[in-house]
């Protein structure tokens, strides 16, 4: 019953957005309250999963441990993004950067985006998952082009085309995975059914299918070399949408790969999928680190950082063992840290009206609270202790040092490069001073509060993992 609420809340809010389209504050509050309600429901479901195992709604929708973790992240970041949007859009409307009549569409599409991600997580059917992930592309295309500028339209087009090609490749892989089931007339096909019948798969076909799935859904995750849409889309979208795209959508697409990996591993062993994940992981880390180092645009820098972190997670899953637990935890820390960074970058953008690093100076003077939050995000994302990412990266690298020393040394070098790049760019933005420096401005509570909440959660989780979360992570890691 609770899952019915989780599915229907975004649908109701989607329709309700049209009714209250003339009041920005009402739209923002209604959207946020809906997502708070969503978050509470998701928490209840997650607690159920911890206590009693999978939450079975019907044969089409089941929530397992990894699904519960992803659902919590989607609703938490969605809630923060929606709350942040109130202050962010109010300011953009005041500056006439965004026409008022587009606001209701923003909140309506935001709800559709959240719904599509939720459906992708909870569905038991691979094709329904594909449809839901394709729906995330369709619902976000207009959000990316929200500013209605030529560069935003261009990035949205690139996003639409590259992701559509990627997802069609993934679709072909999905169909190949269903081969034994369709031959044996299983009817409705679920992940469990595929895993149980994994031994009936033809290994050669399964290998081709997994490569197609990895390339296809990997395009959405942002693995190099299929990543080219990601920096453009994430940098041109409004800050709260960038936070959602980077913070949770990448995880949802990664979940699709993990579900297929589970089936493939049951049939052909883990070596094949693990070596592919290690390959795409290290390639993404290395390429992203060099680009971060020479980056001139802070939103693009954050986008490339997402590519790097998805690479680290892929490396963790590829190395296996305790690397899987670390990779899952890494995805949680990355979601929180990246949302903090994108939302605070939105405050910087509102103040400076530029995304170029050279145009941003003295943020600690002009936006002191935002600066502190941004620096916390920076320290966390670059893996500085005591933040959780330090421990997850350390765990992943230590798992692989014995078996893949070259890969680990390459990853370590890249992480140092990322830190050096971030440090240079962030210190220039935060502390530098020139003619572009701005006066101290009053910071809007709506654009600070959601970031602050995420920071508090990040700090708490860096020092203390609740036993329920720990148990979810442990059971989610089984099988990978």
């Amino acid at each position: 019953m609770i899952l019915l609420f989780v599915i229907t809340i975004p649908i109701i809010m989607f329709m309700f957005s049209f009714l209250i389209r003339k009041n920005l504050m009402a739209l923002g509050f209604a959207s946020t309250i809906a997502l708070i309600f969503e978050f509470v429901n998701v928490l209840i479901i997650s607690l159920y999963v911890v206590r009693f195992g999978n939450y079975v709604f019907n044969k089409y929708f089941v929530i397992d441990s990894i699904g519960a973790i992803m659902l919590v992240l989607v609703s938490l970041v969605g809630m923060a993004a929606s709350c942040y949007s109130i202050g962010y859009l109010k300011k953009e409307v005041e500056k006439e950067n965004v026409p008022f009549n587009k606001i209701w569409k923003y909140f309506a599409l935001l709800q559709l985006f959240v719904l599509a991600m939720i459906l992708a997580i909870i569905t038991t059917n691979p094709i329904l998952m594909w449809i839901s992930i394709e729906a995330t592309t369709l619902s976000t295309a207009f959000l990316i082009s929200f500013y209605n500028k030529s560069s935003a339209i261009e990035s949205a087009w690139k996003y639409l085309i590259i992701n559509s090609v990627g997802l069609l490749i993934g679709f072909l892989g999905t169909l190949l995975f269903l081969y034994p089931a369709t031959q044996n007339g299983f009817g409705f096909i679920s992940w469990d059914m595929l895993a149980i019948n994994a031994l009936t798969f033809n290994p050669a076909i399964l290998k081709i299918a997994f490569v197609l799935v990895l390339v296809g859904f990997g395009t959405k995750v942002g693995f190099v070399p299929m990543h080219t849409w990601l920096p453009d889309a994430h940098s041109k979208a409004p800050a709260p949408i960038s936070g959602l795209l980077s913070g949770v959508l990448l995880n949802v697409a990664f979940l699709a790969i993990l579900r297929f990996k589970n089936v493939a591993d049951a049939s052909i062993g883990k070596e094949f999928s693990n070596s592919l994940l290690i390959f795409f992981g290290i390639l993404s880390i290395v390429v992203a680190s060099f680009i971060i180092f020479i980056q001139k645009n802070y939103k693009r820098m954050l986008a490339y950082s997402s590519i790097e972190h998805m690479g680290i997670a892929a490396l963790g899953f590829g190395l296996g063992g305790s690397g899987v637990f670390a990779a899952l935890l890494h995805m949680i820390y990355h979601s929180l840290s990246k949302s903090i960074l994108f939302l605070s970058s939105g405050n910087i953008f509102l103040k400076y009206e530029s995304t170029k690093i050279k145009n941003i100076k003295g943020v600690v003077h002009s936006l002191p609270v935002t600066a502190i939050l941004f620096i916390i995000g920076f320290l966390s994302i670059t893996g500085i202790p005591p933040f959780g990412i330090f421990f997850t990266e350390f765990s992943i690298l230590s798992v692989g040092i014995g078996t893949h020393p070259f890969v680990i040394i390459l990853a370590l070098f890249s992480l140092v490069l990322v830190f050096a790049g971030f440090l240079t760019h962030v210190s220039s933005m935060m502390f530098g001073e020139n003619e572009n420096s701005k006066e101290v401005g009053k910071e809007n509570v709506w654009t600070i509060l959601p970031i602050f909440i995420l920071v508090v959660i990040l700090i708490i989780l860096s020092f203390y993992l609740p036993s329920d979360l720990l148990s979810l992570l442990q059971s989610a890691g089984i099988g990978y």
Binding site: E154, W157, V165, L172, L175, Y179, G187, N202, D232
Partner: protein, 219 residues
């Protein structure tokens, strides 16, 4: 019930394959739309056959919807886009025709290579048709890459989807009717969104040539 022999299936697949080759060689937007509609008509026919063979009313509805979306609605939207923006002029590509043909030959040969040979297990009797469908997927992707026009890129994606449908039909990998409806709905929404974006690109850039889209280049 009429049985589709491997020879007949290969013949159908060859027509589909040739339609994409013509998409590559043809320079008129109108012809490309016509080729897509023709390709979709064959796909709808195949789905109707499948529906009658299975004696399933739901599959008949899916085939009918496929016909409506791919043969009528999508081409109608594309024609409107051409009419509205006066885009009857020739489409452009990155490679010239001889080079394009060379790449197409390579991609077709690749689909018949030992790398994809294991896929023939899916339908040993229709080995040639299956690999030709795979070749059609590859050359549809190449259409998206090689063409500069927004319209050609859209048709390339839809043609790729048609190629996957034909591949799954030959391999016997069709999804249930409900899921096929979901996929079709996704395609319809995709077409509408892509058309809206194409209009926006024309409004902002004064052209539907993607090589004119240079706003994202780092300064």
């Amino acid at each position: 019930m009429l049985y589709l022999t491997p020879q007949f299936l290969f013949f159908i697949e060859t027509i589909l394959f040739i339609s994409v080759i013509f998409m590559h060689l043809n320079k008129k937007n109108l012809t490309i739309i016509f080729l897509y509609a023709f390709q979709s008509l064959i796909i709808s026919g195949v789905l109707f056959y499948s529906a009658f063979k299975e004696d399933s009313l739901l599959l008949v509805v899916v085939a009918l919807m496929t016909f409506l979306v791919k043969v009528l609605i999508a081409p109608y939207f594309f024609l409107n886009l051409i009419r509205k923006n006066r885009l009857n002029f020739s489409v452009t590509s990155y490679l010239n025709s001889p080079l394009t043909l060379l790449v197409l030959s390579f991609l077709t040969a690749m689909s018949y290579s030992h790398f994809f040979k294991p896929l023939t297990v899916l339908s040993p009797l229709n080995e040639n048709a299956l690999l030709l469908a795979l070749g059609m997927i590859f050359i549809s992707i190449f259409l998206i890459i090689n063409r500069k026009g927004v319209l050609s890129q859209m048709i390339g994606i839809l043609s790729m989807e048609n190629a996957i449908v034909s591949f799954s039909f030959i391999a016997g990998l069709e999804a249930t009717a409900g899921l096929q409806m979901g996929i079709l709905f996704d395609i319809l929404v995709w077409v509408i969104i892509a058309i809206v974006f194409a209009s926006m690109i024309y409004k902002f850039f004064g052209s539907l040539d993607t090589s004119e889209l240079r706003q994202l280049k780092e300064k």
